[in-house]
Symmetry: C2
Subunit: 199 residues, 2 copies
């Protein structure tokens, strides 16, 4: 099976969105904190990173083979119009096949499966030895609770948002012990990569 | 006025205690992760730290002149029996003077004041140029909301606790923007020191 990773830009009080979907100008300030551009399939979202963040994100993207996402994230983004910004195949965990969307996006590298185990099996096949990223928080939590998550990458943002959407919301089967992190200090972000301790 | 600092050992999901007051063996594992002892006024709580954590904590304690604590923390610890483990004067923020406790602990370097502004004024006098530490979370939040907090020190612990007592609970007047942190990687802890951006 592939290495399974989740991650998010998170405030120091644990939120990936502030109250009323606010705070993104802080959470994603590091995406525009320099002048090193990163190519994107969605040129309307330019990424201009500091040197160190550019290197960090490039290496991260190189490791990734496939994305596993929940139905909520898929619906929120309307399936990124058929091409994920990271330009990778996407496996969507869902009970309901969105036939209309599939008909509207012929050739889009999206697969729809029911349940996280089936999703991981499908993603591992597509990943060709590279890692699998799982998002958002609800799906990542299910992988963590099932003992299927290998790494948690937190891009820790220097802001207190005071409320909103927690990255980790009422995780079960806790506590989950992690190893000491790999740390990369960026611009308006601290990158923390944790391995999940197994067994 | 003195520099005002708050801090805590916090899980990556934001908790300073797990569900039902659990998880302390993870949150404070770094206090026993080495063999460098730190003197304590409470020898029943031995601190045996790694070299880097010993240096970090020693430098931190050297900076501190006075502690400001809320009434809840004071009551929970019964005022540390009159001597705080860090061996510093303590200013307790409270509406109700605990006359019985004062009578029972003659000479204890504890002052009782009403309101955070009065507490800061009193603490600054006692600090003699050193910093003031404010705890726990409720009092720290009041200082942050009032624009009186200068630094937030997070000892980030590699564990997901899944619930419990948040360090930052529904902070108001948010967002509060912080500077990029100073980072010290420790053993079973990552020390992050943030300055609060003012105005």
């Amino acid at each position: 099976m592939s290495t399974v990773i989740t991650g998010a830009s998170m405030s120091i009080d644990g939120y990936i969105a502030g109250p009323g979907e606010s705070g993104f100008e802080h959470l994603f300030a590091w995406y525009e904190a320099g002048d090193r551009e990163l190519p994107s399939t969605h040129p309307e979202i330019p990424l201009r990173l500091s040197e160190v963040d550019h290197r960090y994100l490039s290496e991260h993207l190189e490791r990734l083979g496939v994305l596993v996402v929940g139905r909520r994230l898929f619906d929120m983004t309307d399936g990124w119009n058929g091409i994920h910004p990271m330009d990778r195949p996407v496996v969507v965990v869902t009970h309901r096949i969105p036939q209309q969307w599939i008909d509207d996006h012929p050739g889009a590298p999206f697969t729809f499966v029911d349940g996280i185990e089936a999703a991981l099996e499908q993603a591992s096949k597509l990943a060709e030895g590279r890692a699998v990223a799982v998002n958002g928080g609800t799906i990542a939590r299910q992988f963590l609770e099932a003992g299927l998550l290998d790494e948690i990458h937190i891009d820790l943002i220097p802001v207190v948002l005071g409320g909103g959407t927690p990255f980790f919301d009422q995780v079960g089967a806790a506590p989950h012990v992690l190893e000491n992190p790999t740390i990369v200090p960026g611009e308006r972000v601290t990158h923390l990569r944790y391995r999940v301790r197994k067994g």
